[in-house]
Amino acid sequence: MPKSAYEIDQQSESVERYIVVAWVDNEAGVLARIAGLFSGRGYNIESLAVAQVDDERNISRITIATNGTKQVVDQINAQLLKLIPVHKVATYPIDDTSIFRELALIKFVAESDTLKKAEQLCIDLNSIILDKTPKSFIAQYLGTRREVDSFIKKIKPLGAISISRSGALAMKKGPETVKDNKGKVL
């Protein structure tokens, strides 16, 4: 039980990683509302991804990776639903009932020997080369967070000088989608 001034037995519930997804009106200040809610209530944002997904209705989908106990994540869910521009919220525990993806772009600058080695390694590790000059190249890698981590660890010594990573995206496996879960009051 979080958020009380008094000591609480937090050991009894384990802290896990979760993905929180919110469907929001794409309007000014909406990201600040969500980021402010997380910082104000002491929740963690590990990564964040936002983009409009419905041009007609102006809806953005915000995907946040966070960690906390089940109870904290339920609180995040309930607090997000209270925000006016938020339409619905889903929380996914990070397990194999859902798909998770992150994208990384990595720029290599090195002598031609090292560069060749690096390029070969990138190709072997299933990344795509997007730009190439005699002195540099840019590779794109797609995978789960852990896969991206391990990819970066392997290629880093070979002249990777700039790394850019996206936040995670997530989607439930199977035919189900998230239903509207907002504002039901008796």
């Binding site: 039980m1 958020k3 009380s4 001034a5 008094y6 000591e7 609480i8 037995d9 009106d25 794409n26 309007e27 000014a28 200040g29 600040a32 509302r33 402010g36 104000g40 007609e56 209705r57 102006n58 109870q71 339920d74 609180q75 309930a78 607090q79 639903l81 209270k82 925000l83 006016i84 521009p85 339409h87 907002k182 504002g183 039901k184 009051v185 008796l186």
Partner: protein
């Protein structure tokens, strides 16, 4: 809170070109109004009687409107924080939203405390702020501040309006959001150029806002389950809060019926006082840090805790892991995020107090028609236990021949005013707790106090708002000498509008509550809690054009209170009380409910961990 996305969506669909084409067409057909006129038309449509405000450069177009119309009266405060608390007092005593109008920059920042206060205590406010003209936003212009940024965490929602044609719709949405679900403050920031521009008015009927309360079946079955738990319990207690008050006077009536029907004991939070008559036998008094012995022990030992419209605040629970350890817990709240936030519940119902209580009564009457009689015996042992706790008389205090005891002053005030419909506001500190302990409220909406934020300086402006909503009634701000100085300037407002509020100061010369904590938790290190220089409150009242009365002796208390009540003007009553009295009972920080300190002879060591807590 629930409002149709459709509204926002159809709205957002129009691209700017389309929008302007549409409005150009309309321009020819409909009357165009300035942004400021639109604001006032919308306020009128919502039946606004009073605006609490203060002018400045960025709101002058709106102030033009104030003198051009008659329906809405403007109350000129002396500080924008005062406007906020006055609007709160108006809202809490009338059930209608309170309206604030202030200028950009300092006008807006001065309202932040009041907005936060209203947010914490769920008070519906609509705050309209002026902003620098659109083209100057972001340039650090004179009196520019990021008002929506600053107030985002202390409002339910806020808007910066950039299109005059969105004003009407936004004001309608603002009223809807402020007053539905768990009420709270909202803010609309309007740049000066938008106030001048011409646009179209839309009435709230032309806008789709879904107000319908939806009934979810799972919550209906949960109400049945709750009633089942109620029928089965043998050591039950109702723990009710501000949610019952916010649900309207009907909810308090329904609660009284449910309490009567069940025969159960009931305790209330600070904000819930008045839902059950303070002198009702089934009422155990307030619970929590300065709650009664019987209320806190009953909470600790009960087997069923029925929370209606309260939020397990830390002033209530004390140590959470020792809070009501053996009970099943039912939580009824309109705000889903309150459920399982602090205390895990066995059964939760998301709903409005009135709806849920009424449903419970119906089920009890139809499904368990002999409950009322069968129940008496089942809970009789529980009641006799409660009576033994009651015998401790935890609110008792020793009277003094020469000095007025602060408790005695509140008790006297209650005795002498109880025959008339009296409204009480407070500041924050010991006097606030004594008011809660000794003033027995018969009806809801008679008690306005800053609970969640604990804002010193709340009571005087709040009393102004209350008096405006109830012109003929007696309104008393039970104050401390330190708190009252935080918004004393509003006495001038009370004088200007001939509002005969009574400011009843329990003057102990100390920030009594701070001194009490220093005595009990900081080895009597009375650092900066004594006010070396205080004004002469009688002269102060006179300087403002109010009346000053001073009482220093217990013998003169009755007469002087009666004198105060007869004066049809604002009064400061300087009640000089014993300086070092502590407010008991008290659950020290970090202790469970059944380890209260009852009085000065009962003080015990507070652990190191306890001292860290606030």
């Amino acid at each position: 809170m629930i409002y149709k996305k459709k509204l926002a969506l159809t709205y957002l669909k129009l691209d700017p070109v389309q929008t302007s084409v549409k409005f150009n067409l309309r321009e020819k057909m409909t009357n165009q109004l300035t942004g400021a006129e639109i604001v006032f038309k919308a306020l009128e449509e919502h039946g606004v009687e009073y605006i609490f405000g203060y002018p400045g450069g960025a709101v002058l177009p709106m102030y033009d409107q104030i003198s051009k119309q008659k329906k809405i009266k403007h109350i000129l405060v002396r500080h924008e924080q005062g406007a906020g608390h006055a609007a709160e007092g108006y809202a809490r005593s009338s059930g209608k939203p309170g309206i604030i109008l202030v200028t950009s920059g300092p006008g807006a920042t001065n309202t932040v405390t009041a907005l936060t206060d209203a947010y914490m205590d769920s008070v519906p406010l609509v705050c309209i702020t002026g902003q620098v003209p659109t083209h100057l936003i972001g340039t650090d212009a004179f009196q520019e501040c990021d008002t929506t940024g600053i107030t985002r965490p202390c409002t339910k929602h806020n808007w910066l309006i950039k299109d005059v044609n969105k004003i009407a719709e936004t004001v309608h949405k603002a009223f809807n959001i402020a007053t539905t679900g768990r009420p709270g403050p909202v803010l609309i920031d309007i740049p000066k150029d938008i106030q001048f521009q011409k646009g179209v008015y839309k009435s709230s009927k032309e806008i789709e806002i879904d107000n319908k309360k939806k009934i979810i079946n799972s919550d209906l079955t949960n109400i049945e389950k709750a009633v089942e738990m109620i029928v089965k319990s043998s050591k039950p207690i109702f723990y009710t809060g501000g949610g019952v008050i916010n649900s309207g006077p009907e909810a308090s009536k329904a609660l009284r019926e449910l309490v009567k029907l069940s025969g159960f004991p009931v305790t209330s939070t600070l904000q819930g006082l008045g839902a059950i008559p303070g002198d009702d036998h089934q009422f155990l008094g307030m619970l929590g840090m300065h709650g009664t012995y019987e209320a806190n022990n009953a909470m600790h030992d009960c087997d069923l805790l029925i929370n209606i419209g309260a939020r397990f605040d830390d002033r209530i629970t004390g140590r959470v892991d020792a809070f009501s350890p053996n009970s099943k817990k039912i939580h009824i709240d309109i705000d889903p995020s309150s459920i399982n936030k602090i205390v895990k519940t066995d059964l939760s119902i998301v709903g409005d107090s009135l709806t849920v209580i009424s449903e419970m009564i119906t089920i009890l009457k139809t499904k368990y028609s002999n409950f009322n009689s069968s129940n008496k015996e089942k809970i009789s042992a529980w009641w006799s236990q409660i009576e033994t706790w009651r015998k401790k008389k935890s609110l008792s205090y020793k009277k003094d021949k020469k000095l007025i005891m602060p408790q005695q002053a509140v008790e006297k005030l209650y005795e002498l005013t109880k025959k008339q419909d009296t409204f009480i506001t407070t500041e924050v500190g010991q006097h606030q707790m004594w008011a809660a302990q000794f003033y027995k409220f018969k009806e809801p909406n008679r008690w306005m106090t800053s609970g969640g934020l604990g804002t010193m300086g709340y009571g005087l402006p709040a009393a102004i708002g209350v008096q405006l909503a109830h012109p003929k009634k007696l309104v008393v701000d039970i104050a401390g000498e330190a708190s009252i100085l935080m918004n004393i300037q509003e006495l001038s407002t009370a004088v200007q509008y001939r509002l005969p509020i009574k400011i009843f100061i329990l003057n102990n010369q100390w920030m009594g509550m701070v001194r009490q904590w220093q005595e009990l938790l900081h080895e009597k290190n009375y650092s900066e809690s004594y006010t070396e220089a205080l004004p002469d409150f009688v002269k102060l009242a006179e300087a403002y054009g109010a009346v000053g009365i001073r009482a220093t002796n217990p013998n003169e208390l009755d007469d002087k209170i009666e004198e105060m009540m007869k004066i049809n003007k604002p009064v400061i009553f300087d009640c000089v009380v014993k300086k070092d009295e502590n407010c008991f009972p008290m659950i020290p920080s970090g202790k469970p409910h059944n380890e209260m300190i009852l009085g000065p002879d009962d003080e015990e060591e507070i652990s190191e961990e306890g001292k860290v807590l606030v």
